[in-house]
Subunit: 327 residues, 4 copies
């Protein structure tokens, strides 16, 4: 391994609050260790296009509190081709960038895994995804902000639900994972949470509503995007048919979950992992994601970060907790 003198940093995949805090930490840590640091725009697309620019302390001034990513992001197909990656490598060599920090989710890491091995190029990844669906870290950057965005939105919906004695079905993000639904559902005091992992079907939902407390003015049912019962509209239609006298409304929260100022936890997590990524590279780490497990910094090979995580993060104990609290 050659000595690292210039670290490139990019964000890829869906944007997540806290990505800017991570970029800032990568830049500050690089400067602390007297390294150059190069910003790469629009993720792997910018890598292939050679959209690079030198970063210094001022480049990341006053961004820790901003949502989105100043480096922009992009879903890049060309990086899945051998030619695309070869061009990317060529650009890196020409710009004398000798290591990468990539901030993103599982798609990002799959690309990084291939590239890192193909060209023996040092890469450390940072988990940046509101879905939190990665092995190797308790929390991904952006998740805490996303669940707080959901909680704040549903608190508002609760006001209306209480005023009208309504049942609301609220669909939250999480295409393959119920993690956003689970935590935010507990946070808003949901009467039911439908997530793919729990296999709660409509019959159980009907049963829960029928046997639930009758003195409740409002009901909120949180549905994960990817729930097998179908999205909020499918659940809504079924409930309207089963309980025709209920006043039922549907709300799909959509993109508001993703943006906004990051929470303190996301800023701290991003800051810590950003520094650890740079120092990991300096210690020779590569082809790994840096995460935080039980308060400790942990490096996990990219190939192990993208396995199915439900069994680990959505335990029976959590599902039981939901049942007790939603009485």
């Amino acid at each position: 391994m050659s000595t690292i003198k210039n670290i490139g940093v990019l964000t890829s995949g869906g944007d997540a609050p806290g990505m800017n805090a991570a970029i800032r930490a990568v830049v500050r840590a690089s400067l602390y260790h007297n390294l150059k640091v190069t910003g790469i725009l629009r993720g792997y697309e910018g890598l292939i296009q050679g959209d690079f620019f030198p970063m210094d302390g001022k480049s990341v001034a006053n961004i820790i509190q901003r949502g989105g990513t100043i480096l922009k992001t992009y879903r890049c197909d060309a990086f899945r081709t051998k030619e695309g990656r070869a061009q990317a490598y060529k650009n890196l060599k020409e710009s004398e960038i000798d290591a990468l920090v990539v901030i993103g989710g599982d798609g990002t890491f799959r690309g990084a895994d291939i590239f890192s091995q193909e060209f023996d190029f040092p890469i450390v990844g940072l988990p940046g995804t509101i879905d939190n669906d990665l092995m190797g870290t308790d929390f991904a950057i952006g998740y805490d902000t996303a669940i707080n965005n959901v909680v704040n939105a549903v608190d508002k919906i609760r006001d209306t639900a209480e005023s009208h004695d309504r049942l609301f079905i609220v669909e939250v993000m999480g295409r393959d994972s119920g993690l956003i639904a689970l935590r935010s559902g507990i946070g808003v005091g949901a009467e039911a949470i439908l997530i793919p992992e729990a296999k709660v079907g409509l019959p159980q939902l009907f049963h829960r509503i029928e046997t639930g407390r009758k003195d409740k003015a409002s009901k909120i049912i949180i549905v994960a995007e990817g729930d097998e019962g179908g999205g909020a509209y499918v659940v809504g239609e079924a409930l309207k048919e089963k309980f025709p006298k209920y006043d039922i409304r549907i709300s799909v929260l959509g993109h508001i979950q993703r943006g906004g100022k990051p929470t303190c936890m996301d800023r701290v997590l991003a800051s810590r992992l950003g520094v650890a990524a740079v120092e990991g590279l300096l210690e020779g780490k590569t082809d790994v994601m840096v995460g935080q497990i039980n308060k400790e910094i942990v490096f996990t090979p990219f190939s192990q970060t993208t396995k199915h995580i439900d069994a680990e993060k959505i335990t029976p104990a959590w599902l039981r907790l939901v049942e007790i609290l939603s009485m």
Copy 2:
């Protein structure tokens, strides 16, 4: 007119942030004038069911900051019938309630108008509707909170739009009026605002996008629910066809616009109008809505509050302002 000793208060129609502040003001003003005050649950439905309860200072403690309405609300069909209203009148007489304050929107006032005349019963209305689509007041209670809810949500979407160089179409509330879209659209710095009143069709929208600044990373188009171009999805499909290389996303904000803590302006407006409603009743006012025009308290007959308001509130000057700002 008999002397008023007991004022009933109810909220009706869609809930609006600030309704609780209005209830509080009605109660406090009644107590200040040594009147009894009676809470009526679920709007006209509670009037017909006789769902009444005495209120005192403690009934409205610590509610000024809460969204929704502690008196609950309901869309009541029975009050549109002569029998329903007769039952309501009977209940009021039996409970010795001799005047009403009704907080709601145009449907609420149409009912109040009929009832007030049918039984010669003193009623003063307070404008409580996020749509702000009432004559007789510059602002209805809830409107300022709603547009701030939109602005806060779209600020988050802007983060994502900027990160991905995307065009977002965001649908906001306002079935018959573009007032929420107009103000919140200016507030978020929208690249275009589609409202029924402006008759901006798709060709003009296409033109604006084609001739707009090319160096803009993101575009936000605000569409009022009731825009004649169709909702956000119709606009979205047309744009995707016309601009196939744009990355276009759609977000329907829905119920999050309605709830949440009222803004200071909505609390102050509700407080002021609530006191004015009680004092208006004591001065013999009836069959009127109390509003605020140019900082002054104004009473407007119910029958004149529900006319089409667009010409007055959405002037050419406002539409020109949008055009200048969205360059």
Copy 3:
């Protein structure tokens, strides 16, 4: 008057949320009218130092939602001297700037008034001050955000006050004016509001507390910085002595009132006034502030904007409202 081709824009005095929205509107309106627009950094200080830079649409992209001012601000003593102003004029001439938009408060306008007359230089001012203490506009840019900042902060304090049955004295900004205290005090449901204009002394405050409802768990007293009873600490000491068994706490809100994202109202106001300022200059207006009174755009000579405004904005009707609501 020569034709205007290049407008300079600056912010001066204390920063106020919405200043960026105003800058954006000035820039956009200038471009709309095919004018050049020049940013001047740090207010009058930058005018004297010649800290100018050309602005275009991109200069103001994505700033409408940001607190503070991208042009920065400064309290400049040199502009009070003839030499300072002469240097400023020289810089403007050299840079071919032929009109100014100045965004700030009374100090800003006093300087602009002198400069405008001294050099026959076209200047239009925009009211940007959280204090709202200017004649010629119902609201200054920043005031609505500031009172919402106060309301959000005191809502939090109310949680603690209710939990502990405490009396809180909260000091808010407003050195010469009780306008922030008045509106925010109504907004938080304060039990008393002490403002210079109302001349409520400690004996009346004692009386109000002694005769107030006994079933209130918490009490919040809002004190304007400039209240003649002294700041929050003086009031606090007096109350502790008079009511030794009360659990009394003091909170001085300070600088958090000033910053943060502007509200929708402040963004819309700033946008509208910014456009009106540019178009006012083009119509030959000078030595005036542009404001909004009763929904209309109004131009007021600088010399008339800085008179004492209390009598107009804090009327007996408002003070009576406070008394009724705080029962």
Copy 4:
């Protein structure tokens, strides 16, 4: 140990956001296990006064999102006396309450420890303190909300600091611990964080400022209440003397840190610990606090919760992180 049939629940010490979520979970879990649950008002004071009331599902409806505590809290001296505790025990026996859940901080647990042993009375504690200064849990209920409150407040101050090129000294809570300062300081991107544990004196602070990047427009220094350098005012005076040309301001955040809606994390933590407390009692646990360490539920004897925690939670790695990031 006799079978538990009726659980009393109280909150004590300073209020913390999430206490209501904890109360709700205790009530829901008790009902789930077919136990009675009794609310005790004002902490140990209510225990001595016999201020008890039966709780059911409705008692805790719609409180999960509220700051403060519906059971109120109090700093009670009488419970430190043998007589006080004897009276409390008598009241519990008379009301047939046979176990307690106490929610609070170290003072609360010291009282619970004595009482539990003195009368062989089953008590499980929940950590509810914004200071997070307890052994036996990674996070106490309220801490996450408090640091987010700080971050949101300081983000606003940053707007002003950037606009004026100012240095702000911001004092945050934490009488004996720098934990709030540490995390929120990282979260706001502070240029320096002064905490008791780090022993950074004024000379080091001067050095850091002198050697720091010169291109920074603003500086934020976070000072913990209990920092040995003295509070914000002492630090401010020293800095003003050392750097007379800096524009230095001071802000003491005070009580706004404590209140407000709890974050999602605090709600989830409180919900989980509340259920665990009830189930711990049913399993015979007593004289312990229930916490969460590395994602697992852990019971720690009261006597071990109140040791000095700095060495564990504020490690050299965290202090190094602060140094790297504040460059």
